[in-house]
Amino acid sequence: MGEKISGRVRPATESGSGADPSGADGSRHAILTRGLTRDFPGVRALDGLSLSVPRGSIFGFLGRNGAGKTTTIRLLLGLLRPTDGEARVLGFDPVTDSDEIRRRCGVLLEQPGLLERLSAEANLDLYGRIARLPRAVRLARIEELLQRIDLWDRRDEPVRGWSRGMRQRLAIARALIHRPSLIFLDEPTAGLDPVSAADVRDDLLRLASRERVTVFLTTHNLAEAEKLCDQVAIVRDGRLLARGAPDEIGRYEGGRTVRLRGRGFNDNVAALLSDRREIRTIQREEDGVLVTLAEDAEVSDLVTFLVRVGVGIEEVRPVGNTLEDGVLSIFNDQGIGTLEATA
């Protein structure tokens, strides 16, 4: 797997991928883990996770249900103790200094965790009081956050009547009430309709950029991760498979993908192309081919060759490799299924 990875995408086995949790580069990283492992009776939920999350980034932690995403968040917050390995969150050890971590972090777990019988304002006020914000600061902050997510006019309503999307947005605001340095968001758009999910994503991007907060986001929605995240890590059965920027993961196979359309594409031409050194993969399409080029291949050489064999080229178009493409390739290499790839 390692030799296929290009750019800065790193395999889980790469040494030092989790940096040194107790090292000096803690200032550059919001989260560092090394060999983080957690066992439950009969199952290893997390298996030697080594990870680094740069400060100020939106970091996507991708995996199917049961991949170990929620366990990771619980370990980083000190809600669970690791079986093995170590971690630093904002420079603090979750085992010994979890109070300091929770003081500096905001959280939206799998469920919004809102007090359903209370109003939106009362929910935010409670967590502002927990964070010991002075009353005047608290009230101003509540108004600021509710205004930003367009829920100020509904601040007095009990949240139990609200849609899931509205509750998620409120829960994100709650996570930010005390201006944390880092927020953990566990599947913030799971179970939402596309419009609500888009609203949550927009709010998240706006708030994260304005608050300059590091976001650790778990999701199994690849399109969402691609839109939101600067860096992603792919985890499966508690093991880290790869990490990097979404476009780097998208180019996991290496090389570029190009769509060639025109007259004269037939099986013979496809066979000739597949024998060429610069072609990594080839896929026949109705009036052309979709090819993945080797790293050092030139598109112009390919076009010259096709013209020479009698093909009338009408279109040569690079195709952007999506995160989904990369994840599919990684999972295929592992001989396993795919993540959900919904919009």
Partner: protein
Amino acid sequence: MSFFHDVWVVLSKEWTELRSSDSGWVTLTTLGAFLAIVGVFVPWQLGTAWVTAPWPVLIWAWIPLFIVTTVTSDSVAGERERRTLETLLATRLSDAAILWGKWLACVVWVWVAMALCLPMGLLTLNLMVDGGPYLPSVGQAFGILAVSFAGAGLGAAAGVLVSLRAESVRHAQQVLAIGALIFAFLPIGMLKLLPKGWTTQIFQSLAYGSPTRIAWLAAASLLLVSLPILLVAQLRFQRGRIPLK
């Protein structure tokens, strides 16, 4: 001071939730029924014995002990069931502040309801029975309030402990209801094991002893039993040890 601030925040959160429970009128009806039974019906039926006899002290201990278990199971197991406990645990609040805030909120909630029953009962007694006024001594009144607090404290301590491990609110309440019944009837069964002279003495104390002395003795005994339970609850109420959904 910060610890007390955090306990107060948790306590006020619990009270706000209790006050704004599913339906305001259900809460009021439940409280009204409780006051009608404990504050009116019981003293009316017991007559002057409600004030003069020592054994009604046991009522002041057992009722809050039983009632508080329902409130506590909702506060701990219910919060876990509603998936709000984990969010609370993910804040800067200490384990102890959460535990004591919840315990105190449940105890005071039930204790205040019991305390309201005392003037109501006295009013009922003096209106229904001739030959008054029937009033407890100051020591007896405070003893009654103390035994109610201690009963609620014990029930809440057991409630926290059971709710921490229970799979659901219903499960917790079932276990606690059985526990409360055992707590009420086990001493009666154990009396048979004591030497006859002792049993006679205990019955005589309950029938003719000083209500004030019995109340304070019961309060002290209940607090003594509560302390180790609370200690175990505090040891178990720790992040990393609390089972989450």
